[in-house]
Symmetry: C2
Subunit: 364 residues, 2 copies
DNA sequence: ATATGCTTCGTGTACGTGCACAAAGGTACG
DNA sequence: CGTACCTTTGTGCACGTACACGAAGCATAT
C-alpha cells in the first residue's frame, strides 16, 4: 500500500523505473536477460515502493497444479491419525482455488519395510510437497535425501528430526507434555503417593518415540518434585485387547490402594471403560488424545483429564505450510510446537468446537 | 474438480449449457435479464458439475476495496486489547491481497457516552464490515440497528449479545471458564478450605460483564462441590493502584491462614508481584490473561495458573470472518467460543509460541 | 554492405471472473 | 413495413501477474 491506499503493482514499478513490465518481471523472478543498469533501477524501485506481489493474481497466472502427498500409518476410524488426515483434507479444500490436490498414502507401522515401500510409491507420484512422520531415523533419512535432491519440500508431522531439516515441523513437545501431565497428576493426587502407569506392549516394544518421551517427562517431574511417590506399571498386551480386563482385575487385587493412573498412549478408554463397567468412581485417570471413546469417558467422569495435541490442527498446518511456501512464497517457521492443552469435562466442549463441530453440545 | 482433475470454470458451464459466459454470470449473481429456459439449463449444469467459483479470480476481477472498522476500548500497551488489536492487524496483513484495510477506533470505556460518540465516527467511515464489543446493551443496540439497515455486517468480540444477531461472535464462555477455574483451584487447594477473591472496584462497579460471569461460574462450582469452603474477598480501588500493597498487607494480617487466591480480571500480577517482593512462596494464585507482567509472575512461580482467552486469535478470527463472508462468500459459524486454556509454567511456552513469537524460550 | 549471433527489452496473450456495452431477437404500434 | 422499445444474449475489456515471442540494438564475421 502506498499513501493513496492503492496497492503497488508491477506496472507501477515499471513506470517509475522507466522499463517495461517484462523487465520488472524478469528481475522479480531472477531470470536472465536484464542489463545491470536496468536491474539496479528496478531493484531500487521495488525497495523504495515496498512492492508486495499479489499472490492470488500470481497463482492465477501461473496456472500451475500442485500435488501434495501425505504418508501416514494406516489406521482405523476414530484414531489419532484419522484427525490428522481430516485436518489435511480440510486445508486442501480451503486452498482448492490454488489448484492443489492431496494424495494420502498409508503404511503398516508394525510391518518391517512398509514405510520404505510406501516411500517409493510416493516418489513415483512426483509430488510437489510431502508430509510424513519421521518414525525411524535411517529409513526417513533415505527418502528425505532423495526429496532434497529433487528440491521437493517435506514437512514432518507428530515427531521431529531437526537434523533432516524439514521445511517445517508440527507436533507436540512430548517430553514437556509428560512433565506437565505429572504436575497435574500430583495436584490431583493430593496426599496420595501411589499411582499406576498403563502401557501397551507390542512385540516387546513400548510404543512410539513420542509415547516414550512423554513417559520420560512424567518420570522426570516426579523424580524432581515427588521422589517419594510409588509408580507402578501395568503392561497390556496390545495384540490381545480381550485380556485387558483380566489384567486390570489382577492389578487391583494386588494393589487395591492405587487410585490414580495415566496412559501415555491414546488408549486411556480401556481403563476408563473398565471403571464405568465396574462402577468404580474412586479411580482417577489421565490420558492422551481426543478419541471418541476417550471423550465419552471424560464426559462420564471415568477420565479426569486428557491432554490433547491437536492432530487436526497439525494436519491443517502441514498442508498450509506447503501452500505458503510453494505458492504464496511466505517464510515458514521451521519448528512449531502445538499447545499442550489440558482438557476436563469443564472445558472440553470448547475444544471440540474448533475442529469437531459434530460433537458440539453447547453449554448455556 | 471433475474427473480430469481440472477445475470447472464458468466457461465450462456455459459450453455445457449452450449459453454464453455472460448468461452464466448473470445466473450466478442472480441478476436479471435471463430467460426462464436459460436459467434452468444453467442451474442444472451448475448443480451437475458442482461448480465452485475461483474466489481469488473473482476478487481480482471485482477489484473492490473493503474497509473494516474495529471499535475497542482505548488501552495501554501490554493490556488485553493490545493483543486483540495485534490479531486484527495481523489478519489484515495476511489478507492484504484482497484490498482490505482496517481502521481502529478507540473509546474510553469508563466515560459515559464515549462509545456512542465513537460509533458515530465509525458510521461516518462508511465501513464494509465492523468489529466491536457489545458492552452496554442499549448503546450497542442503537449502532447495530443502523448497521443492519445499511446491510453492513458486524462481528462481536469478547462478549456476545446473540439477540442482536451478529455475523459472528468470538470470545470465551466466561461463566464456564470460571467454573473450570474453580475445579483447578479446588485441586490445588488439597485439604485447605479457605481462599480469597481479589477484585478491582471502579466507582462502585465490579468490572466488566465477562469478569462478573467468571466469578459467578467460580462460585457456582464451589457451591456445588465444596459448599464448606470459605471464600473471602479483597476489593482493590482500581483508581488508586498505589494503595494495593497496603490493602494486601491488611488482608493477610487479618487472615494469615489464607494461602489461595484468584482474580477474575487480568491484574493477577498485582498480587503476584506483591508475593515476589515479600518473598512469599506459600501463596498460590490464579488469574486471567497473558499480560507480560502475568507471564513474568508465572515464570517466577508467583502465579500458579493463568487462564488464557486467546485475544490475538479472537481479533484474527473477527477480521477473517468478515473476509470470508464478504469476499469469499463462505458460511460463517455465528457463535465461536474460544478454548478455555489452562497455562502453567510447564506448558506456557507452547502457547506463546503461537502468537507472541518474541516471547519464545525454547525448551529443549 | 550484408549476414549472423548475442544481449536486452517490450508486447501480447493467458489465467478465471465481473461487468459494461452492444447485438440480436421479439413485440407492439403507427 | 418501418420504427421504437423491451428482453435476452453474446462479446470484450479489465483485474495483476507469468511467460512466450519477437523486435531492437550492437558487435563481429563474411
Amino acid at each position: 500500500m502506498n499513501k493513496n491506499n492503492t496497492r503497488i503493482r508491477i506496472k507501477d514499478i515499471a513506470l517509475q523505473a522507466g522499463v517495461s513490465v517484462g523487465t520488472v518481471d524478469r528481475v522479480l523472478h531472477g531470470r536472465s536477460g536484464v542489463s545491470e543498469s536496468s536491474r539496479k533501477k528496478v531493484e531500487a524501485m521495488l525497495q523504495q515502493l515496498d512492492y508486495q506481489p499479489n499472490m492470488y493474481a500470481s497463482a492465477l497466472a501461473s496456472n500451475k497444479k500442485y500435488l501434495f502427498v501425505c504418508l501416514i500409518p494406516s489406521h482405523l476410524p476414530d484414531e489419532y491419525w484419522d484427525d490428522v488426515e481430516a485436518g489435511c483434507t480440510q486445508c486442501v479444500k480451503e486452498y482448492s482455488d490454488f489448484n492443489i490436490s492431496l494424495s494420502i498414502r498409508y503404511y503398516d507401522q508394525y510391518e518391517q519395510g512398509a514405510f520404505l515401500t510406501a516411500s517409493e510409491q510416493l516418489l513415483a507420484d512426483h509430488p510437489d510437497g510431502v508430509i510424513l512422520t519421521p518414525v525411524l531415523r535411517s529409513e526417513t533419512e533415505q527418502i528425505v535425501s532423495r526429496l532434497k535432491a529433487q528440491g521437493v519440500p517435506y514437512v514432518f508431522i507428530d515427531s521431529n528430526i531437526p537434523e533432516l531439516e524439514p521445511l517445517a515441523f508440527y507436533g507436540q513437545h512430548a517430553h514437556q507434555s509428560g512433565y506437565f501431565a505429572a504436575r497435574m497428576m500430583s495436584l490431583m493426587m493430593g496426599t496420595a503417593k501411589e499411582l499406576v502407569v498403563f502401557r501397551q506392549i507390542y512385540e516387546g516394544k513400548l510404543g512410539s518415540n513420542q509415547q516414550m518421551k512423554r513417559e520420560q517427562g512424567f518420570y522426570a517431574y516426579m523424580q524432581e518434585h515427588h521422589p517419594d511417590f510409588i509408580l507402578r506399571e501395568l503392561n497390556f498386551n496390545a495384540k490381545e485387547p480381550t485380556q485387558s480386563e483380566a489384567a486390570i482385575d489382577r492389578f487391583f487385587q494386588e494393589h487395591p490402594d492405587v487410585h490414580f493412573g495415566i496412559t501415555f498412549n491414546s488408549k486411556a478408554y480401556i481403563v476408563g471403560e473398565y471403571m464405568l463397567q465396574h462402577q468404580r468412581t474412586d479411580f482417577h485417570l489421565m490420558g492422551y488424545d481426543l478419541l471418541k471413546r476417550n471423550i465419552r469417558c471424560l464426559r462420564e467422569r471415568a477420565i479426569d483429564f486428557i491432554i490433547a495435541q491437536q492432530p487436526t490442527q497439525q494436519g491443517y498446518s502441514c498442508v498450509e505450510s506447503l501452500c505458503n511456501h510453494l505458492i504464496l512464497k511466505k517464510d515458514i517457521q521451521p519448528c512449531n510446537y502445538m499447545p499442550i492443552a489440558l482438557l476436563s469435562i469443564e472445558n472440553i466442549e470448547f475444544y471440540l468446537n474448533i475442529h469437531k463441530k459434530e460433537y458440539l453440545q453447547l453449554i448455556v
